[in-house]
């Protein structure tokens, strides 16, 4: 299910509208991930505070969305574009790739809440495909 030209255009267009709130999106998506899928908290035992609004969650939301922004800019070749991030996740972070799907879902939920008009079904399918492709590229170096 690779990204068509139409998908890439839709993702780029949507990103242009939402990127101003990237930090907020990342923060809210992480909050939701930790609340709705408590097993994801296992990756953050080194943070003292995992409650919504805590400093480490906020900061990490920013970091994650920075990665998403980078992926948008490299949408024509995600695999090579995200090589460094893939190595980071594969060898250091070792996040089970199943969790990429979980975070992706929560990003979509936040987009629906913050941008109900812009997050049309067409934007939704393009974004879902993009986040899936991103997740695949991120898992590239795992084995």
């Amino acid at each position: 299910m690779s990204l068509t030209a139409k998908d890439k255009a839709a993702v780029t267009a949507l990103w242009a509208k939402v990127s101003g709130k990237a930090d907020e999106i990342g923060h809210d998506a992480l909050n939701r991930m930790l609340a709705v899928y408590p097993q994801t908290k296992t990756y953050f035992s080194h943070w003292k505070d995992l409650s919504p609004g805590s400093a480490p969650v906020k900061k990490h939301g920013k970091t994650v969305m920075g990665g998403v922004a980078e992926a948008v800019s490299k949408i024509d070749d995600l695999t090579s574009g995200l090589l460094n991030l893939s190595e980071l996740h594969a060898f250091q972070l070792r996040v089970d790739p199943a969790n990429f799907k979980i975070l992706s879902h929560n990003i979509l939920v936040v987009l629906a809440i913050l941008f109900p008009t812009e997050f049309t079904p067409e934007a939704h399918v393009a974004m879902d495909k993009f986040l899936s492709a991103l997740s695949l590229a991120l898992a590239e170096k795992y084995r």
Binding site: V36, A112, I113, P116, P121, D128
Partner: protein, 147 residues
């Protein structure tokens, strides 16, 4: 048996009482058919599903969306025995409709997103957790009679 906290019970009743089911059902089903186009395999007699606009405007999709949400209401009213409440529906989806149970998860995700868009900030992480737990129980009950 599923254990529900007071917060979860109250949240589910609240979310569904406020929900405009005539809008949410059709929108969720339409999104499912658009975002996961392979789900269209079950709707061969629904006419024009050729593109997003056609799906959104299709009256059979809208009608069926309302039917599905009506089914969900049964679970809302019987939270302490969703498994029993859905036994017949599960047999129907397995024996007669031959729906791959994975599709229930796909529709559930679309429903979550549509409800989130409707409720806005009111769909807090805690509300989302309760809602997704409820939906997961429904999905599990629907898949239970498959063999």
């Amino acid at each position: 048996m599923v254990e529900w906290t007071e917060f979860e019970r109250a949240t589910i009743q609240d979310v569904f009482s406020k929900m405009n089911s005539d809008v949410v059902g059709p929108q969720a089903l339409a999104r499912c058919l658009i975002v996961y186009p392979w789900t269209q395999r079950y709707f061969g007699n629904f006419g024009n599903l050729y593109n997003a606009a056609a799906i959104m405007g299709n009256p059979m999709v809208a009608a069926h969306g309302k039917t599905v949400l009506g089914g969900l209401d049964r679970a809302v009213k019987n939270m302490d025995d969703i498994k029993g409440t859905y036994a017949e529906l599960s047999v129907l989806h397995s024996e007669k409709l031959h729906v791959d149970p994975d599709n229930f998860r796909l529709l559930a995700d679309c429903l979550t997103i549509v409800v989130a868009a409707q409720m806005g900030a009111g769909f807090t992480p805690a509300v989302q957790a309760a809602f997704q737990k409820f939906i997961a129980v429904v999905v599990s009950a629907l898949g239970r009679q498959y063999h």
